[in-house]
């Protein structure tokens, strides 16, 4: 068995099995049967067993045929200096070819192997091919993973940063048949009952039958009279026991022989039985049972001697070489022969004296094959660069020529899965070209032939441009289409490198509005994610994936659709209640702010005795920035109070701001209440900090005491040791603060350095705050602190003077706006600035829903903005895409309800004769004739004729009654009175409708009834097919 890399440059032939889509054979000095299968991580590993490594830039997978045999070698090559996944694959290969006895062991190893590159895989495989799976799960601790069979998605993969593409296929050598030597051509038997039977033509002219099912030996031999090379052989696709063999030229002898493989029947039957046994035993399909295949126990059953047959069934083609052969797909007795002297002949094997013949190529017909999609169509190749396409029914002239632009051709083959697609490879070339023969024929029929092209030497029957070219890294000796997978092909190079080529010409993709993706693979369509699955990984299963950067979060389009479905709308109270479902901190903050703030601001305004009427600004959804600096009353200078050495600024505005931020300590909201609330939520740090920020050190000490008591009582959830310790440290620090303030510089320094060691932002800020000595320091502490924005602002409002406060607020307003941080609405409010913030929020998250809904509270009621109407129309369009009509209508109604002025009537009715519009007043006046309408609340203003010109109004074309035009203005006049809107509305049946094309119409119900049985307009002589429009 040769393992030498440079022994090489032999002619090799590769061929997929027509029966088992995962097996193929490669023939050269011997025949080898390979199996191709997916490793379960389809992150592709380059599978290469030679001692040198191909650059991994190409995606294809290689196996070096020469060195792919010895098992020991695989183990040794683990130490080869290459990337880890290569090692990994070798292990995998080792396992798969190793003996069955290792299965259990390997399976256990799966969880222990410390493979750094392993990616999530499905256990599905583990169970099926336990021994083949050496890709391990990332964490050996995840033993329960093995129970999650099926939880992994095996058609989707989540690579991490820095991944390298690897091949997902692994090729394993199943069997080597070294009995066959000096081979020139080979072909799988088309007989399905014997899926591993292969015929080979040798250089001595003999054709042999061999099989991989048993011991690999030659079963039969067919010997010609004169020894010469065998060029080609072809199984009869119908009479599967016939095989035609094409030989080199010998003077006076025939070069085409047809053999019957059942020449001696008894032997064959025995053989057949044997094959069936082995198939049932799963030997053929199971790639791991190599040991059983080569088990010598079979040899006792098999007949040892090779039978040689000398009597062909039929022979013809005198004194010429036969270079190519093909059976006619429609007439199984006829064989087409391409000869060395440029003839193409058709013989009937029952009567070999007559033949049809014609000259085709310049020199010889070296290749011949029939189109699997059209039994009359076939292609030939000659020694020149041309491929000719022929039709049997028009035998004298080729219908199409392909100029392949290479010196001479090596092989041609029709694609078995795509009609009219031919693959060619030139001699000593590393490119495979695909040709679509459909294209030029159809072009000639196209409506406007291009003048430019017809003038030039454009020949409509010649193709010169391939539809696809594949470049291989090595010179291709032979290729083979996959019989069923339209995008796959195998090539083998002269040096024995096997390459799995994917021949995709295009993979179209489409997204549905629901986040489904569909794409094609060949002529298959893939659509998903199917029910119960998601495109994003389930992080509970894919435990080695880290979602640090939010990459695996559900996509916003899905979130928005889901939120719209459970009732996320412009209804503020409802949105606050939906908080848990919305499950987004920023959004929930936003809606809480929207629901509470206007009330607070209104109370404030009342307190400040600002007259609503005189105030220009009606917006109650303003931000702190506005309250402090833009509102009319900022001149109210704060009063200053010194508490324990800290300057506490007080003003109404500042108080309003801090109450918006959730502070606002007042008689109605004592500090105790705030603190005890926080304690109930176990937010002790925040509770302490709150007390400290209000400079109520005693309360802070009380809280700290409570904590230590609680942790002793063990009733509450125990705090972590760290947390408890930190709180204790704080209590010691606080004890040093005393009543007089932080006058002691040593204490201050200690506080500062202790603060640094706290990880909790509240504790840290707490100490830093206490250790400050002037307002500048306070500013810095607040600025650098990482506590909640609301607390920061409240703190700033309390302790910063006007100058610092305005710097602080300005700076932060800018920052939150740029960040698109929804909490920043505190500062900006729902104002123009707020729209800037929301714009940045959209830029960052694409969550147009929240932006659109939130801003609809103020727009267009209070002010207008171009961007908002754009958002609204985009969001409406999204709802359209999702067919969420009710949600869309709700949105429009809510927007309308928020409007300051009622919607103007959009539909007007006017008389067709005098063009006067039916205004409400006119209509009521005209219909008053009968009686005073006020007596009847449900009065409908129905008019039989135009109030101004008294012409009668159009009538229903079916019942011929007047349409009783009900003027829409009636309803719009009382937009607030919901009841009358409902009561006054006409039932749908009484509405009138008309065709947009012929303008005939009538009562909706009548028209509907009519079109249930008819498709033509009800008006006589009108042929308009209204219903189909």
């Amino acid at each position: 068995m040769s393992t030498v890399q440079n022994s090489t440059s032999r002619k090799r032939i590769i061929q997929w099995s027509p029966h088992d889509t995962n097996s193929f054979i490669v023939g050269s000095n011997d025949i080898r049967l390979y199996n191709i299968k997916y490793t379960d991580s389809f992150d592709n590993g380059i599978y290469h067993h030679s001692h040198h490594h191909h650059s991994s830039t190409n995606r294809q997978q290689y196996i070096n045929e020469d060195s792919a045999v010895a098992l020991d070698q695989y183990s040794n090559s683990v130490s080869s200096p290459s990337s880890p996944y290569l090692i990994n694959n070798k292990l995998s290969h080792h396992n798969s070819t190793g003996s069955i006895a290792n299965v259990g062991k390997n399976f256990n190893n799966n969880n222990n192997s410390n493979n750094r590159f392993s990616l999530p895989q499905q256990n599905h495989h583990n169970h099926q091919h336990g021994n083949s799976n050496s890709h391990s799960h990332h964490n050996s601790s995840n033993k329960d993973q093995s129970n999650n069979t099926g939880a992994f998605s095996y058609d989707i993969e989540y690579p991490q940063d820095g991944w390298e593409p690897k091949d997902k296929k692994s090729i394993s050598l199943i069997s080597v048949n070294s009995e066959v030597q000096l081979m020139k051509c080979m072909s799988w038997s088309p007989d399905q009952s014997d899926p591993n039977l292969v015929a080979c033509g040798l250089t001595n002219g003999r054709a042999i039958l061999t099989s991989f099912s048993s011991v690999n030996r030659i079963l039969k031999e067919f010997a010609p009279r004169h020894i010469r090379a065998c060029n080609t052989l072809a199984w009869n696709p119908i009479f599967k026991h016939q095989i035609a063999v094409g030989l080199d030229k010998v003077r006076g002898d025939m070069s085409t022989l047809v053999w019957d493989i059942n020449y001696i029947n008894s032997f064959k039957q025995q053989q057949q039985q044997h094959h069936q046994q082995s198939i049932k035993g799963g030997l053929v399909d199971a790639p791991h049972t190599i040991s059983q295949i080569s088990d010598n126990s079979f040899s006792t059953i098999t007949n040892d001697y090779t039978e040689t047959i000398y009597q062909p069934l039929s022979e013809f083609t005198l004194s010429e070489a036969t270079l190519s052969l093909a059976w006619l797909p429609n007439s199984p007795h006829c064989l087409m022969v391409g000869t060395g002297s440029k003839w193409l002949k058709i013989y009937d094997i029952r009567d070999t004296n007559t033949s049809q013949a014609l000259t085709t190529h310049q020199k010889s017909v070296s290749g011949l094959c029939f189109d699997p999609f059209d039994s009359n169509r076939f292609a030939t190749m000659g020694e020149d660069s041309l491929v000719r396409i022929w039709d049997l029914r028009k035998f004298d002239e080729s219908i199409l020529t392909i100029n392949t632009n290479c010196k001479s051709l090596q092989q041609i083959e029709w694609c078995p899965t795509r009609s009219g697609v031919l693959a060619t490879v030139g001699k000593d070339k590393n490119t495979i070209k695909l040709w679509d023969i459909k294209s030029p024929i159809d072009l000639s029929k196209s409506p406007k032939p291009d003048r430019k092209q017809s003038i030039s030497n454009y020949d409509p029957n010649t193709i010169t441009k391939p539809t696809k070219t594949h470049h291989s890294t090595e010179i291709i000796a032979s290729f083979s289409w996959h019989p069923t997978n339209e995008c796959r092909m195998l090539t083998v190079s002269y040096s024995g490198v096997i390459e799995v080529v994917s021949m995709n010409e295009n993979i179209p993709i489409s997204w549905s509005p629901h986040g489904n993706l569909s794409f094609s693979h060949g002529n298959h369509l893939l659509e998903g994610p199917s029910k119960g699955t998601t495109i994003e990984p389930d992080l509970n299963i894919y435990k080695n994936l880290k979602n640090e950067d939010g990459r695996y979060d559900r996509d916003i389009s899905l979130k928005m659709k889901e939120r719209a479905k459970f009732g996320y709308s412009a209804n503020v109270e409802e949105n606050v209640n939906l908080g848990t479902k919305i499950n987004d901190e920023g959004i929930n903050f936003l809606w809480n702010w929207i629901s509470k703030t206007p009330g607070q601001i209104r109370t404030h305004k009342k307190k400040m005795l600002i007259n609503e009427e005189t105030q220009k600004d009606k917006n109650d959804f303003v931000g702190i920035h506005h309250i402090l600096f833009d509102s009319d009353n900022y001149f109210l200078n704060p009063s200053v109070e010194n508490v324990c050495g800290f300057l506490h600024y007080k003003s109404h505005n500042r108080f309003l701001c801090s109450s918006i931020c959730g502070w606002g300590v007042s008689p109605s909201l004592p500090l105790e209440l705030i603190i005890s609330k926080l304690e109930k939520q176990y937010l002790y740090e925040k509770a302490v900090a709150m007390a400290v920020f209000h400079l109520d050190i005693k309360k802070a000490m009380v809280v700290l005491n409570n904590v230590s008591n609680l942790s002793k009582s063990a009733l509450s959830p125990s705090l972590s040791k760290d947390r408890e310790f930190n709180l204790k440290v704080l209590s010691i620090a606080l004890a040093g603060f005393g009543d007089s303030g932080n006058t002691n510089p040593i204490w201050r320094e200690t506080c500062k350095s202790t603060a640094k060691s706290f990880s909790d932002p509240y504790l840290k800020t707490c100490l830093e705050f206490l250790s400050t000595s002037d307002s500048k320091e306070i500013y810095n502490v607040i600025e650098d602190s990482s506590i909640n924005l609301a607390d920061k602002i409240a703190l700033a409002c309390r302790y910063l003077d006007h100058q610092d406060l305005s710097t602080f607020i300005d700076k932060n307003t800018l920052a939150v706006t740029e960040m698109g941080n929804l909490q920043g609405v505190l500062l900006t409010g729902l104002t123009e600035k707020g729209i800037d913030l929301l714009q940045n929020y959209i830029d960052r998250t694409a969550d147009i829903q929240t932006a659109c809904l939130a801003i609809s509270v103020v727009v267009p009621k209070i002010f207008r903005d171009k961007r908002v109407s754009k958002w609204h129309s985009i969001y409406s369009d999204l709802l359209d895409h999702w067919s969420l009509w009710h949600e869309r209508a709700t949105l429009d109604i809510q927007r309308a309800a928020n409007k300051a002025e009622p919607t103007q009537p959009q539909i007007f009715a006017k008389c067709g004769y005098c063009q006067n519009s039916f205004s409400f007043e006119a209509v009521t006046a005209a219909s008053m004739v009968g009686g005073r309408s006020q007596a009847r609340p449900n009065f409908k203003s129905k008019v039989p004729c135009c109030p101004s010109c008294k012409q009668s109004l159009p009538r229903c074309c079916l019942c011929l009654l007047p349409l009783n035009c009900m003027v829409p203005a009636v309803d719009y006049k009382k937009p607030t009175d919901r009841e009358s809107w409902k009561a006054g509305a006409e039932p749908f049946e009484d509405w009138f409708t008309w065709c947009q094309t012929c303008r005939h119409g009538g009562h909706a119900q009548h028209i509907l009834d009519w079109f249930q049985e008819h498709s033509v307009c009800p008006v006589t002589d009108c042929t308009c097919r209204c219903s189909s429009l």
């Binding site: 830039t57 998605s153 593409p165 993979i507 693979h521 830029d843 960052r844």
Partner: protein, 322 residues
């Protein structure tokens, strides 16, 4: 567990385009076998063939659904140099059938791409042809789809155009990105005053993929997709190119030409093969790209604003399927 349901379309050749309709309830496919097939989602959530017909006398490259406001309308383009408009309508027996409404025959070469304009500009169709011209047709009477007139025509460059994509936002001037056999993506805009399309800018790739053919033809742009705007203040355009790269471009200040800025914000060659198509999801937050390796890659922007590979989907058949 499979995330993607795989089914055979029985097309006799490669599928060249797949397209969901506006609501995601129907899929249309077209193939080199010259047929178009329409698939409907049934109540069980399965896709069933609803119609198929021979549409062209050459490979059908692309198809596009019109906005449902205009009815069930599909446009298709083909190697046979024509664009066909198909409409589903009921015949006398109440059977739904797809009827050929119009054939647009102005192209002198294979028509490589077609896209409907945003709904707000009416029923307009842009076609892109190998003869180098972009032609924009409009159905003047949307009740009668047999009448289409060329409203605008321009030649972005000599030679073949491969792909076009409209700016889907109706709040901007009509704009279009055009990809051709050279590596430069061109942005065109309709100039109201001049009443014609003018070249606005060219995006030239910066991140070079050195591993590959450096000739210009080796960098042909196979597909371009302009992301849905979603109210963002910027635009995203993705390209798929022959030089193995998927790129995302960011366009800012589109209204002010002096301040307009084009930036390449992602350039990835993870496909390690020619990239065929790119497609944005409905919010422009996930990009799908497909490559010659048979894989579909999904790209998503993380919280730091970097575009990262989310997942790889493989369409190839596995042994397990059988």
């Amino acid at each position: 567990m499979r995330v993607f349901h795989r089914f055979s379309t029985s097309h006799e050749d490669l599928i060249h385009d797949v397209s969901y309709d506006f609501y995601g309830k129907r899929i249309a496919t077209c193939s080199s076998d010259q047929k178009i097939k329409v698939w409907d989602l049934n109540d069980n959530g399965e896709w069933g063939l609803s119609a198929e017909w021979k549409a062209h006398s050459g490979s059908v490259w692309k198809l596009a659904w019109a906005h449902p406001e205009f009815g069930q309308v599909i446009a298709s383009c083909s190697f046979d140099r024509t664009v066909c408009i198909w409409e589903e309508s009921e015949d006398e027996k109440g059977q739904k059938r797809w009827q050929l409404k119009a054939t647009l025959v102005d192209s002198r070469d294979s028509v490589t791409d077609i896209k409907f304009a945003p709904k707000s500009s009416g029923l307009r169709l842009a076609t892109c042809s190998s003869d180098g011209y972009i032609r924009i047709y409009e159905a003047m009477d949307i009740m009668n789809l047999s009448q289409w007139t060329i409203v605008e025509e321009f030649e972005p460059q000599k030679g073949s155009n491969n792909c076009i994509s409209w700016n889907p936002s109706s709040y901007d001037k009509p704009m279009m990105a055009v990809g051709s056999n050279d590596p430069y993506l061109k942005i065109w805009e309709y100039n109201e005053t001049g009443q014609k399309w003018v070249h606005l800018d060219t995006l030239s790739p910066v991140g070079n993929n050195n591993n590959y053919d450096s000739s210009e033809s080796g960098k042909a742009i196979h597909d371009v997709c302009w992301a849905p705007n979603m109210g963002r203040s910027y635009h995203l355009i993705a390209t798929a190119s022959k030089d193995h790269t998927v790129r995302i471009w960011k366009l800012t200040n589109i209204h002010d030409k002096s301040k307009m800025e084009l930036k390449e914000i992602m350039c990835k060659n993870d496909h390690r093969s020619e990239v065929w198509r790119v497609e944005w999801n409905i919010t422009g937050t996930v990009l799908a790209s497909s490559g010659d390796d048979g894989n579909v890659f999904l790209w998503k922007c993380n919280m730091n604003g970097e575009w990262k590979l989310l997942s790889i989907i493989n369409g190839e058949e596995r042994n397990e399927d059988r």
